[in-house]
């Protein structure tokens, strides 16, 4: 890939944070950041909302100079007493890794009756998926996951990295953040299409818990179609296979499916698990070619840039992402309308039901006016 060696200058996700989220998916009760107190604060805070305890060894200038061995031993004891965890994760940071901190020795010394996943990671990797990979490798070593799941995840990560390189945030040296098109206008357009009797596909290709909000757009499109008497004009695809992925990820799929069922929404095509967003493209492309190639429009949510354009190019595409840097690449792919759900992720942490999206709400309101 020719963009493999470009020097990207916009800020982007950190591999330390990626390791933290992976530990959460592995259901650790406590994650210890071994490093300075402010490191990864925003995400550490969000993860607390998601139900896990995040603490830091709070290394200071003297910790950088003299090492943080004792600080880590102490905090291991402390969290064990305070939270009685069943599984603990320890995550490196730039500072602790540069000074050569070894996390295994303090873990041995603390000698807790609780398994500890040690992730030696800093934020200096080209692809933040490295953080996920390191966390999974350590989980494999600690016997938390089996080799089969590890291999599966490894493959997904490679594909996720490729998706970003091809049409994602790693595809250009600099991508300016954008809020995308105006939601009101796009809502009007969908209603117009439905009124004209056009047929559409909703494709929810979401990454893990973000599905809680992207699913709301699937719901909204179907609700509006029903109000217009065009319920049969919509086909729904979603990556909510309940048998794939780490336990926590499967649980999200179950919750979303339950909400869909309660609302009477039919998912016509299950296109994979909630962690399979980088590889669902082939399945989707094939399904469209075989069954839906004559449909008129598609509403694609989650990670729309992972889906090949081969059999979509004749349709009018409305895509919804939560990445403000994703707008330009999606427009370049040929998506007519690109919407951004700003700050989606924080709203999908710590929930187990579908959460209202801004676009879903807009669509419902605009539909009311036009009926």
């Amino acid at each position: 890939m020719d963009n493999k060696n470009i020097s990207i200058i916009h800020p982007r996700p950190s591999s330390i944070v990626a390791a933290l989220y992976t530990l959460r998916d592995l259901n650790v009760d406590v994650a210890i950041l071994h490093g300075p107190p402010g490191c990864s604060f925003k995400h550490a805070r969000l993860l607390e909302e998601d139900g896990i305890h995040v603490v830091t060894t709070a290394l200071d200038e003297s910790g950088f100079v003299f090492g943080g061995h004792d600080a880590l031993v102490n905090i291991l004891h402390k969290v064990n007493d305070m939270f009685h965890p069943k599984l603990i994760g320890v995550v490196g940071t730039c500072a602790s890794m540069i000074i050569g901190e070894e996390m295994h020795e303090p873990v041995m010394e603390a000698n807790l009756d609780v398994p500890v996943i040690e992730v030696e990671v800093h934020a200096g990797y080209r692809n933040n998926t490295k953080g996920v990979l390191f966390a999974l490798e350590s989980a494999l070593d600690a016997g938390i996951i089996d080799r089969e799941e590890f291999k599966r995840q490894q493959h997904l990560l490679e594909e996720a990295t490729n998706v970003e390189l091809r049409h994602g945030a790693a595809s250009k040296e600099y991508l300016a953040p954008s809020r995308g098109d105006v939601k009101y206008k796009v809502a009007q357009r969908i209603i117009e299409l439905l009124k004209e009797g056009k047929r559409g596909i909703t494709i929810m290709n979401a990454k893990k818990e973000t599905g809680y909000m992207f699913a709301d757009i699937t719901l909204a499109v179907n609700e509006v179609a029903e109000q217009l008497g065009k319920a049969d004009n919509i086909i729904n695809m979603a990556n909510i296979d309940q048998n794939l992925g780490l336990p926590r990820v499967r649980h999200h799929a179950e919750c979303i499916m339950k909400d869909f069922e309660e609302k009477g929404l039919k998912v016509h095509e299950i296109i994979g698990g909630l962690d399979e967003y980088p590889i669902t493209g082939t399945t989707i492309d094939q399904l469209i070619q075989e069954k839906y190639s004559d449909y008129d429009f598609a509403v694609i949510t989650g990670v729309p840039h992972a889906i090949p354009m081969d059999h979509l190019s004749d349709m009018e595409i409305i895509s919804v992402t939560n990445g403000p840097r994703q707008v330009l690449p999606l427009k370049e792919l040929g998506h007519e309308h690109v919407l951004v759900e700003i700050d989606l992720h924080p709203k999908t942490l710590g929930v187990n039901h579908i959460v209202e999206s801004e676009f879903g709400a807009t669509l419902r309101e605009v539909a009311k006016e036009s009926l």
Binding site: N5, G67, M97, I98, I99, G100, E101, E102
Partner: protein
């Protein structure tokens, strides 16, 4: 031959670690052992006398250039097939040499299959363990035992004693003390006593001889350039002792007072 020696040689800077390491490596190669020497000093001169005075590209040089490093890019065959690796590092005063060692050691561990096939691997580490990175070979589980090189002078002994304290701290056994003589008074007696008091023993007394310097100036080890010299015999004896050695101890460092008494 079913040996699997993984050793590091420590000692005060300038005391002769690289000379000793290359001569021991060469002597073991003469005996038919598969030997590798890994230079962990940013100066990258550990293996130079095994390579006829030539420098080799270092692991960190290649990583800096963004090369997808392969075994054959960083492992070079020197005298009698001794495999030579240099970690390399930044210029003095720039960047972080300690982190460099960590990264290089991780890379080597990942790419090198021959690491496991070696009978002897010698890690030639910088004299002063100034930060966490400098113990990376030990922390990453690559070094199983350490040898400490010293003379009978006070400062090298002081450094050796400190190193012993450090070894105990990082849980690495000491297999012996080697004396690289600087021709000071009562030297063998002092170092023998020091070795005994920290719980170990003196493995070899290498006399100070001009021939070592002459060979190095030409870019060779004594084993290669002056194989029949007296000192070559001493290196061979040391090499055999290291390969046969099966005892090691957790050293007990002396307090400053006792150390000074010893050298008086």
């Amino acid at each position: 031959m079913n040996v699997h020696k993984r050793i590091a040689i420590y000692g005060k800077g300038g005391i002769g670690k690289s000379s000793t390491a290359s001569n021991v490596a060469a002597a073991c190669a003469d005996e038919g052992y598969k030997v590798m020497i890994i230079g962990c000093d940013p100066k990258s001169d550990s293996s130079i006398t095994l390579l006829g005075g030539k420098r080799i590209p270092t692991i960190l040089d290649l990583l800096r250039d963004g090369v997808d490093v392969k075994e054959e890019d960083v492992i070079f065959k020197g005298y009698k097939g001794v495999q030579c690796v240099e970690v390399g590092g930044p210029e003095p005063g720039i960047g972080c040499a300690g982190r460099g060692i960590i990264v290089a050691i991780q890379t080597l561990k990942k790419i090198s299959k021959s690491l496991n096939e070696m009978d002897l691997i010698i890690y030639d580490v910088p004299g002063d363990i100034v930060c966490g990175g400098f113990v990376a070979p030990i922390r990453k589980g690559l070094v199983k035992e350490a040898y400490v090189l010293t003379s009978g002078e006070y400062m090298p002994l002081y450094a050796a004693n400190n190193i012993c304290r450090g070894l105990a701290k990082i849980n690495t056994p000491l297999s012996g003390i080697i004396c690289n003589s600087r021709s000071v008074s009562r030297e063998e007696e002092i170092v023998t006593k020091f070795a005994a008091e920290i719980g170990s023993e003196l493995m070899a007394f290498i006399p100070k001889e001009q021939i070592v310097q002459d060979c190095e100036r030409d870019g060779f080890s004594v084993i290669e350039k002056a194989p029949d010299s007296n000192i070559a015999q001493i290196y061979r004896k040391l090499a055999r002792a290291i390969m046969e050695r099966d005892t090691s101890v957790m050293p007990k460092a002396l307090d400053d007072e006792r150390l000074r008494e010893l050298t008086r």
